[in-house]
Amino acid sequence: MSNVDLLYQELISTFPEERVSRDEAIRTSYATDLSSPPGVATLPALVVLPKTTDEVKSLLVAANRFKVPVVPMSRGSNIAGLAVPHKGEVVVDLRLMNKIIEINTDAAYAVVEPGVTHHQLSLAASKKGLINHLPTATGGGSTVANYLMRPSGNLSAKWDPDPILALEVVTPSGDIIRTGSASFGTAGWRARYGPFPDLTGLFACSYGTLGIVTKMSVKLYERGEEERLLITKFDSFPPALEYMKLIVRRNLVDGVTFWNWVWNLFHELMVSKAQKLPEEMMKEDQRTPPPGIPFGIASARLSGCKEVVDVQEKTCIRLARELGGDYMPLEEIKTIHPGTWAYLNSYFVEGIHLKPGEESTMRAALWLPGWLINAEPSKILELEEEMWDFARREAKPPYMFRVLPFNHAREFFFAFVILITGSLEEEKDYMVHLRNAYATLYHTLLAKHGAIMFRFRQDPTFLALTGPYGELLRKIKNLVDPNNIMHPGVNLF
């Protein structure tokens, strides 16, 4: 019997039969995501549906004993291959662990399981007059998995530096570790930091390579008596970047994102039900917007007491104008970019995503994220130029970018996305070409601009570039997961 057979035998004796499967058809639907080229897929060895932390523990202990690797999948909506197997792993589908354990209104946090969606948490928090950080990812995505990857979103300025507080993690040895204030058992889930080194941080950005997170406490915020969307427009990117830096550092907004004109036109597919990308999006010169459309807009969320929000809004508008930008009245955005308005108002201000059927733009084009990287503000300006050069060399229109501040604008997140309008089969060569081009690019971006890529399957050589830090991490990895069963396909180590 193979090790997978042995593991299967053990699992069917400990799990209800209907929550463990080695059926090929069942496994097939877990093999691919948006990043899978046509015909390329690795079937998971098994799929298991745990319901409790103890079941996760028994699964990991058994997998570790038989040295069978696992991939945790919280909700599965990752688009970059992080929740699909690459080496025949067991997929641990955590969707049945979908309880909101606690909404603590006194200390303003929630404790959730990995199967809880942004939708669920937003609704539950909202009923208590609170709001959670909402990323641009789908509303059906996992709050736990998304937060572990440093999410961009509507409260990115507010949660600086992180929306996560404490964790419960199961390691391959079967230890159930609670971090932060939760480590004491009597101190609640309110804080990330205690008297000891921060272990929450160890698991953030670890992509399931050190253990499976089974509970997380996350920050919640009071909903303002006023919640407002402020749109400013810019004719180029540099003043917009400076604007975002200023308004975040001066604590004027909860979050702000810059979207270039292509992205704004792309938003038009939301709500409008349009079947095809607008013609203007396909133009060769992607740097110059069509007449009457600004190069880009910065969408900011403001909330709090009305009098304060009024002042904050005025101040933001003044700063934008001083930098050459301008205020874009909501009536104007509703006219020029109605889809953008509907989307931003829902997700940015109301704190809830539109229905996928309204929000989705996939009907017209497939996303192929080029880079999702962070860098210092001045380097972000270099990255814009780098992006245009790269796109001119390697890509076909349309492509688009958005930028937002992280970490109180000490760094910015830069997302560059290429859209594939044809069928994946027709565009397979293009897709493979872009992937290869990206792989080289990441090293260039790090070397030239200090830009750090994340939320992707990694190139294993990246960790080596970090020297002693990487060596220490490897030691920790070996200590926690000596058999390297935790998500080896993500290539972090």
Binding site: A25, S29, A31, D33, L49, T138, G139, G140, G357
Partner: protein, 407 residues
Amino acid sequence: MNNGIKLDKRLYNFTTRCVRCAECTFGYKNAEFELFCPIYNKFNFFTYSLGGIAQLARALHEGRINLTESVMDIVYHCTNCGACAEVCAEVDFPDMMELQHEVRARCVEAGQVPFAHMAVIEGLKKDDNMMQKPKAERGKWAEGLEVKDITQEKAEVYYHAGCRYCFDEELWPAARSAVNLLKKAGIDVGIAGKDETCCGGRAFEIGYQGEFIKYAENNVEMLRTAGIKTVVTSCSDGYYAFKVLYDKIDKKGDLQVFHITEYLDRLMKEGRLRLTKSAPLTVTYHDPCHLGRKVEPWLRKEEKLEAAEIYQPPRDLLNRIPALKLIEMRRIKENAWCCGAGGGIIDAHPDFARWVASERIEEAKATGAEAIVTACPWCKRNFSDAIKESGERLKIYDIVELIEQAR
């Protein structure tokens, strides 16, 4: 691997562009994100969802998997209720169920269909009905009704009973009530009696698209010969077939198609029918999928959108019954939980069908209602069976029976 399955470009694009968010398994915020996909709720693997089936379809298209019995089993557990399509519309068509229908059609081509469906289709071919009953018995439900036979004489309105009402004797009173009500309102109504044939809708849903087209053509030809311009049916599957499916294959022409609830509601608004007798009952109403989600706006040729959902008329009818109190369940209208009988499940997986029904019955009981009312013979049959099996005290009514009692 050559399994002979190729999806068209639109469908393949959908399968490659699904982000696997699984939002197809639960309702949106007005449903508080509660799960509403029966197969996902029962089997829990992502595979049992529209997104999961999309990944399976992608693998079939790319030749990574064969059309095995296991694939067929998954595909044929879907109740075809269309809840998934309420939330998701990823691709360049709003009817997400097209993928499901296409995969089932390929299953039929490959001979991978549930044995029970083969038997049903054999029965259809032989006796023109989905109930595996002799054709000669089709008109029995209407014996003694004194209603015109449109194959013999002219009538203005054709009442199509549908296979389930025609052959399920327990349901005959509802079909007979429908005809009586139409006659009382002065409608020049006729039936086709023993010459009525299946609408083909359920054949379409289980993948027999050729059979569906054949029955669509038969029905349209019969109505053309009889000079019929208006069809009224009590069968929600029939309504879906005549109203939407026939239109999609360009067979509907200028036929006016009404569900009985819609038609009675109109007659009452015109003052042609009145309800005077009280029915002191507390009831809850179950929305049949084929009167709701499955007939919501669909993309017609020239991209014209047409809507045919019937959510309000049954409620208005119930509210007109003196002393009757209507209480709503949690999941209603576009977020309604399916009864479990659709998509051929009642034939292929009766245990699962009853499980789905029992979930709905629990929801109905939680309202405090004494009875669950529906407007579909398949829903009523499945609820009745589930209630009998569990020994529940909840009563089950066809809405037309209640209307007839209150008249």
